[in-house]
Amino acid sequence: MNEALLRSLTPSVLAVLVRRGADFAAAEDAVQDALVEAVRVWPATPPRDAKGWLVTVAWRRFLDARRADAARRRREDLVDEEPAPGPASAVDDTLQLYFLCAHPSLTPASAVALTLRAVGGLTTRQIAQACLVPEATMAQRISRAKRTVAGVRLDRPGDVATVLRVLYLVFNEGYSGDVDLAAEAIRLTRQLAARVDHPEVAGLLALMLLHHARRAARTAPDGSLVPLAEQDRGRWDTASIAEGVDILQAALARDRLGEFQAQAAVAALHADAPTATETDWVQIVEWYDELARLTDSPVVRLNRAVAVGEADGPRAGLAALAALDASLPRHTAVAAYLHERDGDLATAARLYAEAAHKAPSLAERDHLTRRAARLNTLRRH
């Protein structure tokens, strides 16, 4: 049984229950139960109609739960026959679920968790493992999120930008446990792109595909980080790159530029270079100029300084860097790199060590420490 296929049915099954009048939180629980049941039963007795099977089981679970609930509250006025499935809704139910799970009233962590469960069909345990928190904590995070959106109506279109931000967060969470969140983010974004005709959705999908294509080359067998310039480009996934570039080009042709398209354009230029030295840095600087115009993010200007250093030489990069706030994350690491390129190994080594001290991740800290150690060794010889 293909688990991804099973999970791809999650949002539409959930939508059927909601359309039949189940409240979102209870429907979501019932669908989870049905998914667990499917994993147990399908290998021996595969259903003819997978979605129909899930709807039937989930609806039965929902009625059982409501009956148990009602019994607890000593209510006996329940109508529990199965209603006729209503006319097909004009709005896309799956799309409405994306909007609901990324609702602005949710914190980023809650939106990520709820999206993974209600749209992605992951179990609470899988989400907890992927986010490295206890299952009980994740269960509470999800049920709070469901309460937060309980009063939100499912029939209004939301803001696609909020959905994209959540999917981008899921992608950047990386992977641990038995779930690859980056691959899951791609699956969910692809599913969204099939429903929404929006160049930024395409831009995000392209961005994810282009970055995911390089994943095998990003880490050495010992787990250490391999910088872009030193990656074995033969290990990049060319099919994924080709797909990302195609999607991006179609999006850019529509002339409605947004930050994800611009970020994907930078990733595409890297993917396009047969060797690091053949990278078109001049064009990359231009895309960072666009990005700075679109987002005004200091991180973008920091990345731009790196690109300027490659396009116009390290001195130009250092000049661009000098205009930025030195307390920005990774500012010191960029300064170290540009000084190294400029031949000032003593300053570079000192700054690499300082950057390692401030690094936000273990892999980056190890990487920067190794850079400092390498320069210090060179200087002794």
Binding site: A109, A136, T137, Q140, L207, V266, A359
Partner: protein, 135 residues
């Protein structure tokens, strides 16, 4: 989306405002303190922010490798060690501000006279996995 360690020290932190050693509290004050800590953790589990909480014995043993085929060398405890960890709580929150807010609440745990201890807690971010998108 980011994990923080809230670190409580037996020694090595600046003195709290309500600086009375626990053995001079009343039993009821100790119970109230424990209840506060318990409730705090339970509340964080409810908000989906709790990861782990542990208390440590004050005395430990120092251990190091002593060469092939030899048992490890042990030493200590060293009474003079300046910094002594008492326990920790690990939280998973949306922002550094939230981590600081929670540490502030934890520091308000009641001590002698039922008044907040105003104990200094150390808030340390975890080194995370690097993000997928880097350039």
């Amino acid at each position: 989306m980011a994990k923080y360690l809230l670190l409580k020290h037996y020694r090595g932190a600046p003195a709290p405002v309500n600086d009375v050693p626990m053995d001079r509290w009343t039993p009821e004050e100790i119970s109230a303190h424990m209840q506060y800590m318990h409730d705090f953790a339970a509340r964080l589990e409810q908000t989906g922010e709790f990861v782990d909480g542990q208390a440590l014995a004050p005395e430990g043993t120092w251990v190091r490798y002593d060469g092939e085929g030899r048992p490890p060398v042990t030493d200590g405890p060293f009474a003079e060690t300046k910094d002594l960890i008492a326990g920790w709580m690990v939280i998973d929150v949306d922002s550094h501000e939230r981590a600081v807010e929670l540490a502030g609440e934890l520091s308000a745990a009641p001590g002698a006279g039922g008044k907040p201890i105003h104990e200094w807690l150390e808030v340390r971010p975890f080194l995370a996995a690097p993000p997928t998108v880097t350039e």
